[in-house]
Amino acid sequence: MKSNSLWKDAFYRLSKDKLALCALFIVVIYFLVAVMSGAGWIASSWSQEVGASNLAPSLDHLFGTDIFGRSVFQKLIRGTQVAMSVGVAAAVIAIPIGVILGALAGYFGGWVDDFVTWLYTTFSSVPNIMLLISITLILGKGIFSVYVALGATSWVNLCRLIRGEVMKHKEREYVQAAGAIGGGHFRKLFRHILPNVGHIIIINTSMQFQVAIKSEVILSYLGLGVQGEPSWGTMIDDAKLELVRGVWWQLAGATIAMFLILLAFNILGDALRDALDPKLKGK
């Protein structure tokens, strides 16, 4: 019995897109690296000295060594964990808030909608960078605050998108039909509407992911990033002082590592949108 859900369809389309597959491959690799270094299987000895201070890249040290003689390559690997976890955590925080608020507002309208609209208008009115910085300051430095800060700033966009989409779907006949067979609000919203706006969440998350990774760099530059763990942000921050004395490999390493994953996410995001957005289907 052959059956093709829209998701399967989308992934079928995705699998035809070689560029997107490459991107997906890179993302998966990064995730694997992140998980493995998180579990301590690889790069667990990043804090060990492997050579003299600031050695240039060579076959022994792929990306050279940093000021303490630690392997930049190992730090890069370790930094992957921070970058990916920042993205995941931001999504884990932002998605429930954004989706629930957006769905409730879009579905029920009225004062619920007024309240949620007010909430996200207010939030989006305050400059993002200020929210980011002040939240990290409140919660104290460290990776956890970075998670929360990024989550707290990225739900807004998702909420707005979900709200709009739910409003659109609420009027669709299949939702009316669910009402006509006696389905309640809960069923209409969660069983019918939300699965149909799921692609928005996926697309948005893939976009937010790279925003999160980039924000980590800015926060690190401001000295508010992750501490006690190498992250790409702190590596680039180090580089701003090292570059003039010719130590370019930390910057190069972190930039390349970041470049690859951001590129992959961007391409994947585009491909996902093409594959999942029914509006573009068949074009």
């Binding site: 019995m1 052959k2 059956s3 093709n4 859900s5 829209l6 998701w7 369809d9 079928y12 389309r13 035809k16 669709r172 006949e173 299949y174 009316q176 039909a177 669910a178 009402g179 006509a180 067979i181 006696g182 389905g183 309640g184 069923r187 069983r191 019918h192 699965p195 149909n196 799921g198 029914p278």
Partner: protein, 576 residues
């Protein structure tokens, strides 16, 4: 190639590169359009008729589409050998086209006057002023009132019919030799459809154009086409003079098409469909005689049955917001004091043009929209204000089938899930297996196969989806079903099948229907009693047969006269 042909298509084949592989949309199609004549191309959706017209216009999406063989001669020149530059000077100038969907085919941000004058400025080198004047003249020609003013309007400020008139004005602006009309009236109400058809006829004569008229509804082109080409599954199955086609169609598919449209004044028990004439593989079937019989439906049958539904002075209004704080300043009455009674087992047809309030009425009765005043009495019980559990229980008895089979099924659910959902909600059936069996039983009743259960809605055609909708509505074994334009979006051939299905089901389950449609022909076929709605009110209500014979209101009569007769000018309807 006959020398008097303006367009001559020879052995045209069009293929599309899709993710599933190569798809042949048009296969070895040949036909001619004689100078000054109209040729009708008929076929159901997906039969390749629109692709053919786009191939003629050179508007196929490259590189997805390719033409492996064939020739298209226009005025003796092979268009397929033209480059884009040459095609462009031809398009809108010598060959022009009208599309099905006037709502989206006009650019929403330009004034219609500008849009009409655009082609004139490109092809005829007219100045802005000259082109505008010509546009106003053309708008007058196509019968748009106050053309000077209307030229300044934006598309959204016009009705659907007017938009299609604008499209026509645009198409004829450069006095083309060939006009391609791709389902120009499908999206319009019947009355408007009739006007547009008349207009096209008039213009054709005036401008001495040739016309290629594409439709799924043979009935529509009865009045207008000289020759008819019937397409079925990418192939031309029959082409001949219109009269010949109507009188003695050769191909079973053509016969089916001719027979499937409900005809006024001749009420068969059920409609004939293509499948009555032809097997799935395309072989001819012998039509069983008893299915062709014509007789007036027995009315007295249900006279004695009890009243199931009584509507009393029902009003449904929507607030109009305004003022500084979005207060409600006024109300728009979509349903304005409607009353009627419906007996058990009967079918009430509600007809009216779009915006007359018929859909709101249907939803108000089901309490999907809250009525503002009046009473709904169902089975002797006032249900106007029941809530929660009571309302939920009511849903078991009252169901609705929506218009658009594409949007009324949740695209993320399998058919089994869709059909089992009402059972889940109302806790019918002991367990999942039992529910699944119930769903399977019904899906077979509506003419689908049980192995369809695991599929998703987008894997089905429009007609099949409507069957699924019907099955879903019947899952809870309701007594009363509202069919809201349930067949309007379907091709005529499919429409007939669905109508038959509805009748069969009514008989089997003893259902009571309210059947809402803009097509009086369809309503007349299916309903025992017909109510004509206009501006939120029922202006006339009578037995179906009587409405047809002696309508009291002018409005009703205009609706009646707009129904395509499905016959040519000089012949009566052939009945095989």
């Amino acid at each position: 190639m006959s020398s008097h042909s303006i367009l001559s298509v020879k052995n045209l084949t069009v293929e599309f590169q899709t993710s599933e592989g190569l798809l042949r949309a048009v296969n070895n199609v040949s036909f001619d359009i004689p100078q000054g004549k109209t040729i009708g191309i008929v076929g159901e959706s997906g039969s390749g008729k629109s692709v053919t017209s786009l191939a003629v216009m050179g508007l196929l999406q490259k590189p997805a589409a390719r033409i492996p063989n064939g020739e298209i001669y226009f005025n003796g020149q092979d268009l397929l050998k033209f480059d884009e530059q040459q095609m462009r000077s031809l398009r809108g100038n010598d060959i022009s086209m009208i599309f099905q969907e006037p709502m989206t085919s006009l650019n929403p941000v330009f004034k219609v006057g500008e849009q009409i004058s655009e082609a004139l400025r490109v092809h005829k080198n007219l100045s802005k002023k000259e082109a505008w004047d010509k546009a106003v003249y053309l708008m007058n020609q196509v019968g748009i009132p106050k053309p000077e003013l209307s030229a300044h309007k934006y598309p959204h400020e016009m009705s659907g019919g007017q938009k299609q008139r604008v499209m026509i004005a645009m198409a004829i602006s450069c006095e083309p030799k060939l006009l391609i009309a791709d389902e120009p009236t499908t999206a319009l109400d019947v009355t408007i459809q009739k006007q547009v058809l008349e207009l096209l006829q008039k213009l054709q004569a005036e401008y001495k154009m040739s016309m290629m008229f594409i439709t799924h509804d043979l009935g529509v082109i009865g009045d207008i086409a000289d020759d008819v080409v019937v397409m079925y599954r990418s192939n031309v199955v029959e082409k001949n003079h219109a009269e010949t086609i109507f009188q003695s169609a050769q191909h079973p598919y053509t016969k089916g098409l001719l027979a499937c449209r409900p005809k006024l004044g001749a009420n068969p028990k059920r409609l004939l469909t293509v499948s009555d004439f032809m097997t799935d593989s395309g072989e001819e079937k012998i039509v069983p005689v008893e299915r062709v019989q014509v007789f007036d439906k027995e009315i007295e049958l249900k006279e004695s049955s009890p009243v199931l539904l009584e509507i009393d002075q029902l009003v449904t209004q929507f607030p109009i917001k305004g003022g500084l704080f979005g207060r409600t300043v006024d109300h728009f009455k979509a349903v304005d004091g409607v009353s009627f009674k419906l007996k058990k087992g009967q079918t009430l047809g509600l007809v009216g043009e779009s915006g007359c309030g018929k859909t709101t009425l249907g939803r108000s009765i089901l309490r999907l929209v809250e009525p503002s005043s009046g009473k709904i009495i169902y089975d002797g019980k006032d249900i106007t204000h029941v809530h929660h559990e009571e309302l939920r229980q009511l849903r078991k008895k009252m169901q609705i089938i929506f218009q658009d089979p594409y949007s009324s099924l949740n695209p993320r659910m399998t058919i089994a899930d869709i059909l089992m959902e009402p059972l889940n909600i109302h806790k019918v059936g002991a367990n999942k297996n039992e529910r699944f069996d119930m769903a399977r039983e019904l899906i077979e009743k509506v003419g689908l196969k049980s192995n369809h259960m695991g599929r998703y809605p987008h894997e089905f055609s429009g007609g099949q989806r409507q069957r699924i909708c019907i099955a879903r509505a019947l899952m809870l074994k309701p007594e009363f079903v509202i069919c809201d334009e349930s067949v309007s979006a379907l091709d005529v051939s499919i429409q007939a099948q669905v109508l038959n299905l509805l009748l069969d089901l009514q008989q089997e389950f003893g259902l009571t229907y309210i059947f809402i449609s803009h097509d009086l022909g369809v309503v007349n076929f299916i309903a025992d009693e017909v109510g004509v709605m206009y501006a939120g009110k029922i202006i006339e209500m009578d037995k179906a047969s009587r409405i047809y014979k002696n309508a009291k209101q002018d409005y009703t009569r205009s609706l009646l006269s707009a129904i395509p007769k499905g016959i040519t000018k000089n012949s009566m309807a052939p009945l095989i």
